[in-house]
């Protein structure tokens, strides 16, 4: 346990700046009389400009971890620090503000607003920030073009394929140029070809724009696109894999 904790921490020595600091994080659900430890003492750091993947099977606690990093769920115990701010001590109102200012979010089922066209969907986070309609429009258009959706700006989600919708979702997450982007199984609903396409976009984004990206996936192969892969099982970190040189995916006997 301590070893793993150290493994998570020691990399800060490499001169990278820590963006998120997670220490001794617990999440305990009460199911009837039983206590379920969804997260059972998790510690690690996320560095600026890093693509990090959290991998685990369903029920491993990976989604719970993501929710907590994004401030969607409060931890039972432990510390989450974004920059210098203690997210575990924040009220919902402050957490919403944190997300608005610093975070982007990509969902498995895209979660686009069905009545809004692609451009309006992308512009929505800017609207929440109080950006004027003209400026919103301009920035949404730019980013949609970058995503190769120049011809689909006026299309409703129902008029687009899954891959296109997810690209709109990515555009929506990037439009505010957030410090950190969370992606919850971003390719979970997509075929393998489209999955590759989406992962490439995510990888490129981190490389070019130097955003920090946290992706949750159940697929260890997909996780290899990340700089580091956190393997999680039964609420505990089992292994942290460093792909500094984008080496081939190595199967682990542990699980």
């Amino acid at each position: 346990m301590d070893q793993l904790k150290d493994q998570g921490k020691e990399q800060s020595a490499q001169g990278k700046k820590v963006l998120v600091e997670v220490e001794d994080l617990y999440k305990i659900y009460k199911v009837g009389d039983e206590r379920v430890r969804a997260l059972d003492g998790v510690s690690f750091d996320i560095y600026e400009g890093e693509f990090i993947a959290i991998v685990g099977t369903s029920g491993s606690g990976k989604s719970t971890l993501l929710n907590m990093l994004a401030g969607l769920e409060p931890p039972t115990k432990g510390m989450i620090k974004l920059g210098s701010k203690r997210m575990d001590r924040m009220k919902e109102k402050q957490l919403v503000r944190m997300r608005r200012k610093h975070m982007g979010f990509i969902f498995q089922s895209y979660n686009l607003i069905g009545t809004m066209d692609a451009k309006e969907n992308v512009a929505m986070p800017l609207m929440f920030r109080g950006v004027g309609a003209k400026e919103r429009d301009k920035r949404a258009k730019e980013i949609l073009k970058l995503m190769g959706l120049g011809k689909h700006m006026k299309h409703l989600p129902s008029q687009m394929s899954g891959g296109q919708q997810q690209r709109v979702g990515i555009a929506r997450a990037l439009v505010t140029n957030p410090k950190i982007i969370f992606a919850d199984e971003p390719t979970g609903n997509l075929d393998s070809g489209t999955t590759k396409e989406i992962l490439t976009i995510l990888r490129d984004t981190v490389n070019k724009k130097n955003n920090t990206l946290v992706m949750v996936t159940h697929d260890r192969n997909l996780a290899q696109v990340a700089d580091r892969v956190i393997h999680i099982k039964d609420g505990k970190i089992r292994k942290i894999e460093i792909n500094a040189n984008k080496k081939e995916i190595i199967e682990d006997e542990d699980y």
Binding site: L72, F128, R172
Partner: protein, 439 residues
């Protein structure tokens, strides 16, 4: 988030569920119509009756009367002159009234004959004849509704009150007789002996209006007061004139004693104080102003009750709004979750639903006000005969004051906002995790 964006999103969401929005708006529309129409009935009645009262003039007039037995209080000529010495009194016209039996053919009735100043006499609007000039012989102006009170002197049946037939009496052209009441000649058996010998009565004119048109002068007969006095003095030479008080020994006073005096106050603002002044002296005082105020108080209550009845349907509409917004929050759980994840302020989410509700209120109110104007017109057309028949005044039954539509729409917006507040607050509590769950 900008307020204009919140409004835009709300309108967008209302459009999404057109049919439901229309139905909820319809509820508010009906509520608005019922409140506005009910209130308009109150305003209409008040306005019409006040106009009628004001038409009689005399908003600055007060009537001081005394019917007690304190000698010092009697409203004699010298007392009236004392009143005139008061700074705020610009005019004083004493009144005298005497009962008189009027007959023509087999028809008869008893009517009050009022002695008024020449000025007042000339102010009475006439339908037939002309106003007698000062100093002319004894002749009267007859109220236009006196005709209704004639009864058959043989059968004692009232054609109008018993059979709703107007008695065939033409005050202007028939030969009319009058006899004065004379208590001293009463033999205790024959009611006719109560009256002096009949004389022909000259009718100078009849008050404007048909026999069923109410106005301030319709029920009595009028004559210039000095003419009446000299007529009575001649008629009751050496006897006590009816309605005139007597002293301890049963003898009449030297001066005329008036039952009431009409005083004109110089300034409308002084009317109330003047009324109080005379009241404290021990007189009975009535004023047009007080009358109007009393009337208005009654109508305020009527209006409150009517408005309350109308408000019930608005309350039902408010519940409809609450229901619609609640449904809307359930349907959009996921969307609200997504918005929260993407950093939409909790207050903004609440504001979106509240403004949706407010918008429903606004639409319902606006449509309701427009329809109220149309229905008000219909009510006035249908109600015109009701006004003249049941209330006896021609005028509008329903009236919508200029400010009412604005207040009504403002109020329906408020109703919407209040109705939407609680479901909106519930919506803000929807967890951001609703966005993550795949269902």
């Amino acid at each position: 988030m900008k307020f204009s964006d919140i409004l835009k999103l709300s309108i967008e969401n209302l459009r999404r569920r057109k049919w439901r929005t229309v139905l909820t708006v319809l509820g508010v529309t009906i509520g608005t119509i019922s409140v506005v129409l009910m209130l308009s009935l109150g305003f209409g009645l008040k306005e019409t009756l006040n106009a009628e009262l004001n038409a009689g003039g005399g908003i600055n007039d007060i009537t001081v009367s005394y019917n007690g037995s304190d000698e010092d209080m009697y409203l004699s000529d010298s007392r009236v002159e004392e009143f005139m010495d008061l700074e705020q009194i610009t005019k004083a016209s004493p009144k005298l009234s005497v009962a008189m039996k009027v007959t023509t053919g087999k028809w008869g009735t008893t009517t009050w004959i009022e002695g008024v100043s020449q000025e007042e006499l000339e102010a009475i609007p006439l339908g037939q004849g002309t106003c007698p000039k000062e100093g002319e012989e004894f002749q009267i102006i007859a109220g236009n509704m006196i005709v209704l009170d004639f009864y058959d002197t043989n059968t004692f049946e009232y054609p109008y009150w018993d059979y709703n037939e107007i008695p065939p009496v033409d005050m202007m052209n028939d030969k009319i007789y009058c006899s004065m009441m004379n208590v001293e000649s009463y033999d205790g058996v024959n009611p006719d002996s109560l009256y002096s010998k009949r004389k022909q009565l000259k009718i100078a004119g009849v008050v404007e209006g048909g026999p069923e048109t109410y106005n301030a002068y319709c029920y009595s007969a009028y004559v210039e007061i000095e003419t009446l006095k000299s007529y009575l003095e001649k008629e009751y030479r050496g006897k006590t004139i009816p309605e005139q008080p007597t002293d301890r020994n049963g003898n009449p006073y030297k001066e005329w004693i008036y039952p009431s005096v009409k005083l004109t106050v110089s300034d409308t603002a002084l009317v109330e104080d003047t009324v109080t002044y005379f009241r404290e002296m021990g007189y009975q005082v009535s004023s047009q102003q007080e009358w109007i105020e009393e009337n208005n108080k009654v109508f305020d209550i009527v209006q409150l009750v009517l408005g309350g009845i109308g408000a019930v349907s608005l309350l039902v509409a408010a519940i409809g709004i609450t229901n619609t917004i609640t449904m809307s929050t359930y349907e959009r759980r996921k969307e609200i979750g997504v918005m929260k994840v993407l950093g939409c302020d909790i207050e903004n989410i609440g504001a979106m639903f509240v403004s949706e509700a407010g918008y429903i209120g606004f639409l319902g109110g606006a449509v309701g006000v427009v329809l109220s104007y149309l229905l008000s017109k219909v009510v006035n057309i249908v109600g015109a005969s009701f006004m003249t028949e049941a209330i006896g005044v021609a005028g509008n039954l329903s009236m919508i004051p200029l400010w009412l539509p604005f207040v009504a729409v403002g109020f329906t917006i408020l109703v919407g906002v209040v109705a939407g507040y609680f479901p909106a607050r519930k919506a803000t509590r929807i967890s951001a995790l609703a966005a993550i769950r795949n269902d």
